[in-house]
Subunit: 515 residues, 2 copies
């Protein structure tokens, strides 16, 4: 058995069942071994940023690690932006990168570069295999590290000769570290603080936002009257279906400050302190209000759900479920031209139980996305690392992880242009993904930021460098060119009809909304 | 004057007149300052790999440094693949990357990462500005390093507060290092070796392939009977119009070995020894035949053209031009379905004097590209770093550098899919670029490599992971979606007609050839 086969057999035993691949010559032994091993599904992506974003989406939705297969330094380079998002989402990703044969690197061939230096900024673990017999061990370690709390990217670089040479075979999986357990003294401390604070909030992130953590948070809120807040860009947020109302922290620091104003106590669960996305002159980086005590119940490494449950018990909170939020009646659909309110109304009235929603809508984001609340159960995935171009790949991976669910991707046009190649993989794999491209034909967020910076009137260059209207991008043509049916909508009724069709028919659909 | 303005004024004084930009919030002061300074043209690209590939193409064709403007680590990540090509092409590129304000980085906001670690593998110089007053000095140094022989990428990371704060103003340019001068002793040594060798070749790379170097090489060949060879993937190769016949070193090592077999002396000018692109078991990395003496006339840092001229003089070569290759009669155009031979014939009979040809045709590459020879003068740009997805951006930059010339880009479909967003910039800037997409709808080179590795029959996964036909990519739709007119051709006559139209009409055109 060669190194490539030993790697995949080790990975399969450790729970990896998918590999998002854009291979080159130095990865071909790994490609061939996929056929020999037969337990891992290779999914072709036409750009490496699709591989990494899809692996992130798959890991978030499946709870299992996902692999990518990338070609040398440049292939890894193309994957960096979405590996950065995966890192911030704390998704368990095994980034496999082929390299030149060990004996060939000395001559500095054209594609050679320092792959480890590229990998480190997005990886919690980086290694280059040194021998064929080490590949299985390296893979087992990488997968264990990727899954160990809080989770992240492990990059394993495998020289071509380590893939093709004979080995002793695969290895058993290495168990990931368990999550940290929050001790009873800490629980009691936080319980006492919550009892003593008049205006308190729970600030939830990462795994605290899964169902268990939310239900425990709801018990605490019912008992103490505290608010329940979520980080601005959660990796995965379960919503609706009786889960508590949770507000996402606003993006701009002055709005976040207003949102948090008056709090005496902010209890962190599965998350670190709230900070501003960007730094603005005269505004603070740290968003916790002056005089508000920060108390960490559970770090991202800890079992935040268990800690929240223990805290609820320590507070004597009722074990009966908090009153479920009522299922709101579908909003009345207005007639006429589509706007953000109309989009929100169509979504609220149309999206089915169990839908997975991807939020990369940027400045076209409907308020419906910012506040959990009534409505059927759904799962929201956002962009924790802030690198746009995550949406189409993440939707692809989420759909592969959950073939029985539907994915609706709310996508700004600027962001979608980084990774439109994901549509082809959605077509090839016939994934049930409906992408709503919110096409305002500009980098609107940059125009807002220029205004905030005091630029009252855009100069010619600032205008051109934030404008996508000249020439207009035609998303219907682009989607069809990549094998995905597409339709353009301009009215509420047209969106309602198109979305309904996309939800009821199999396979992907792109809906272009001219904002 | 703030740091951003001091940077652009310094860059303009140092010869930078263009910036390929995909900015974000942390680069907005630099965007605004483009309007204030007015001497540098900002060109918007919708993906950062377009920025870096266009800067490479611009630098290769203009001989001046070109700038990119990228957003933090993920933006730089997207630019890495084509910065790798620029590094191997030794193109003078100033890669500007915005960063968080220095006082904001401590809180580890979502978009923060180790930008320098990402930059190092593709850069010969990396620095993060530490103060507003240092920005102009940093820019001057970066531009000097980028231009100093043999040329390369200098990455300057500029925190947002260093852009917005007040400074003392711009600085004068710093002169780049001069190229190395090859001494007369070395010239005499190589002349003696050439006189004593029966079977010798000049192996030219980098700036030795510009017109002066080639004319000197032709004098040497006429005097000594030596062959003139070029590296496999030259950054820029002048061809035709009386320049000597030069053969590019074949790609596969066994063909390269046959090509070099029997040589007693290989003289290197502007290039290092020939090595195999990939390592194959049983085949050598170093391609110089056993018993053949390698003699370095000029390294890539040296003035290779001057050294070749001095060598020609030392050999007593005639100063009258070597007999110019005759202008071949246009090939007879066959009728019927288009194939590689038909493509070559159409190109030979249609391309005008002065055309710039981009070669990323991969397995559809016509032999016409591999051998300089008769025909009108043209300039060939290839992929020195081997990272595909260079073609569309490089064509974009070349067209901006040479508005009076036409660019014809021969492009594999797999490669084009990495950076198709470049078509939009071609449409926006109304660049005269005709792209011929050679759409074989597979990663054919990988299938060839699998065969070479002994895989007689592709398994289901190896087949799927090298197949682009399901669903078929429709390049006519994709191009139109990005604002570029497009046509599909299947016959020699249709290509001839379409290419003729593309050459005679302004603006870009895409021709999809179903291989």
């Amino acid at each position: 058995m060669n190194g490539a086969e030993s790697l995949w057999r080790t990975a399969a035993a450790a729970g990896i069942d998918i590999c998002f691949a854009n291979p080159g010559t130095t990865e071909l032994a790994l490609v061939k071994a996929l056929d020999d091993v037969g337990r891992i599904r290779g999914v072709l992506c036409l750009f490496e940023g699709v591989c990494s974003g899809a692996a992130d989406g798959y890991a978030r939705m499946s709870g299992r690690p996902a692999a990518t297969l990338l070609h040398l330094g440049p292939g890894l380079g193309n994957a960096i932006a979405n590996l950065h998002n995966a890192r911030r989402a704390r998704s368990a990703v095994l980034a496999l990168v082929g390299d030149h044969a060990t004996w060939h690197r000395d001559v500095d061939p054209p594609l050679a570069s320092d792959i480890e230096s590229l990998a480190r900024p997005v990886s919690r673990w980086v290694r280059t295999s040194r021998s064929p017999s080490g590949v299985a061990r390296d893979a087992a370690e990488a997968i264990a590290v990727a899954q160990s709390p809080p989770g992240g990217v492990a990059t394993l670089i495998v020289p071509a000769d380590c893939q093709t040479s004979e080995t002793d075979g695969p290895l058993d999986p290495i168990a990931p570290e368990p999550p940290g357990r929050v001790g009873s003294a800490e629980i009691e401390r936080v319980a006492a603080a919550l009892r003593g604070a008049r205006r308190a909030a729970l600030y939830l992130g990462a795994r605290a936002l899964l169902e268990e953590g939310q239900r425990a948070a709801a018990r605490i809120a019912a008992q103490t009257g505290c608010r329940i807040l979520a980080e601005t860009f959660p990796a995965r947020l379960e919503r609706g279906g009786g889960l508590p109302a949770i507000e996402r922290l606003p993006y701009f620091p002055e709005r976040a400050a207003a949102f948090l104003a008056g709090l005496e106590l902010l209890v962190l669960a599965g998350v670190t302190e709230p900070v501003s996305f960007f730094g603005y002159p005269g505004l603070p980086s740290r968003l916790t209000p002056a005089g508000c005590v920060l108390d960490t119940l559970a770090s991202p490494q800890d079992d935040a759900s268990a800690a929240l449950e223990a805290l609820a018990d320590a507070l004597g909170a009722s074990r009966t479920p908090a009153a479920a939020a009522s299922i709101a009646a579908p909003a009345e659909l207005s007639d006429g031209r589509l706007d953000v309110a109309g989009l929100a109304a169509v979504l609220a009235s149309t999206l089915p139980e169990g839908v997975i929603v991807i939020d990369e809508a940027a400045t076209s984001r409907p308020p419906w996305l910012l506040r959990s609340g009534p409505g059927p159960r759904n799962t929201l995935l956002t962009v924790p690392g802030g690198s746009i171009g995550m949406g189409p790949p993440c939707a692809t991976g989420a759909a592969l992880a959950c073939p029985e669910r539907t994915v609706v991707s709310l996508q700004g046009d600027g962001g979608a242009l980084y990774t439109l190649q994901a549509l082809w993989t959605q077509a090839r794999e016939q994934l049930h993904v409906v992408t709503i491209i919110c096409a305002n034909r500009k980098y609107q967020v940059l125009r807002v930021e220029l205004q905030r910076a005091g630029v009252a009137e855009l100069g010619a260059q600032a205008s051109a460098l934030t404008d996508l209207s000249h020439p207009p991008v035609d998303w219907v043509s682009l989607a069809r060119g990549l094998g995905v049916p597409a339709v353009r909508v301009e009215t509420v009724a047209a969106l309602h009809e198109a979305l309904g069709r996309g939800l009821s028919e199999p396979g992907p659909l792109v809906i272009e909304w001219l904002v």
